[in-house]
Symmetry: D2
């Protein structure tokens, strides 16, 4: 039961639009995987990627690390449109169940904010491969306010 | 408190040696990350990788997906030397805490079998960056016996 | 996105009815907490309990163990109406986020099967206190078939 | 690999001693279960309890909620001797694997701080029944500083 849109005090449609067109800016693992943000709304974000031959292990299924990396990505990204500009979100932890093999085709993952305070959020992720559920995750994100001065060491 | 070596009924040093020299065989995410298996023993396996500039996000730290993918990799790999030839291990689920940022340098992750039956194992992972703890994980692996006939659908 | 009712090959309304009226049979922690099963359907089960003064810690909120025990309970119970008579379900593992304090009042937890094979299920739980989300969990259940002979040691 | 004692800036032996003799003060679930704190040190805490007939389910094993409640208890309690007087710790989340059945006898659980900042800790728990590993958990604790004024709503 995700939070309803009216529960978010902030929603930044401009930032949401940037996420949708950020493909060219991705680097590292998201670029390697070829993640595309295909839908963004208040408290919800969906990415897709093409599972290509190269990502398969010798058993013909995608390495679990593919889905794990996707989960980590959408866990933090879903926060940006609903937190203040300049604030940032970092994964504290997450738990992922791999429920079915991922093969060549389209992998789609949707991230939903289930709980949100000024400092933390709990997010759930569902991943599908060609319409079949392949992964379920739940994670905690820490939100850091925009920095006006150097942060205290923690 | 990992299982002591004498608790493993099977230990296949030849297979362990193969893991140590399998670098050339890696493909997909483990190859992209540049994982090197640097230590293998009964119930324990350590990998290392160089965190290169390309893997950093705009904040100068490695994308959480890097560590998540490493964790998924060592979670299953630690099982191979202690299960029958032809059996295979698949991640059921895992939980990962990211406890400190990962920067350019060497990332090292050790996987330890804490509990093992013929069908399932519980494994813990500790990851360090230049000697500092950066990640802690705990996961469940399902072990499938060597197949002599087509598996029943589940 | 829970599994739709038609996805369950088995649904045993008689067993579901027994769960609804099983209050008198509960023992141990569920009895101590006063759990009441208030709703059962294919792949879904809801319990309620009264959070009484005695269950509060010195801070005036319920001990986290209350919610943890409720989660473990509904994680396994939701399986019974959809698995063969005589089969049983055991918690393999679960992960629980405590997102808000639980105070005196009514605690309500709903368990939903998200993925099901003959041997395992992934279940999610949402818990509310007086309408406010207080806990979110995700867990794995192992299903053992009805025993016709002594089980092999695992 | 728990944090070594010298890594804790604070250690309050008086508070540790109080925990050891706090049996009479326990209420709610810890009292119902009969938890006894049997060992406390910098970053480590051990409890024991007698698993009595009443706590068993119809299969003759303890309800998973028993171990889940114990885990939640030791997750927070291990922090008190190493955080400032008046600060308090609250479970953010934890993940628990139940690896073997718990029967009548003595259940012993040890909680170890693996990572600690001023605001958060990651803790691992191992539980044994008559010397056999029965549970493994990993959780996140939020530390709130001593309150000098009413906390802001979050």
């Amino acid at each position: 039961m995700p939070l309803p849109p009216e529960r978010f005090e902030t929603y930044d449609p401009e930032l949401a639009a940037q996420l949708l067109h950020a493909g060219a800016l991705l680097q590292g693992i998201p670029e390697y995987l070829g993640l595309r943000t295909v839908e963004v709304g208040p408290g919800v974000l969906t990415v897709e990627m093409d599972v290509r031959e190269e990502l398969l292990n010798p058993f013909g299924t995608a390495h679990g690390g593919v889905l794990a990396a996707v989960v980590d990505h959408v866990l933090g990204a879903v926060l940006y449109p609903v937190i203040p500009r300049g604030a940032w979100s970092a994964t504290t932890e997450f738990k992922l169940n791999l429920v079915a093999p991922v093969r060549v085709g389209t992998l789609r993952a949707t991230s939903t904010i289930e709980s949100l305070t000024t400092r933390t959020a709990v997010v759930r992720i569902e991943a599908f491969h060609d319409g079949r559920l392949v992964g379920l995750a739940q994670g905690t994100v820490t939100i850091s306010p925009p920095r006006t001065e150097p942060p205290a060491p923690s």
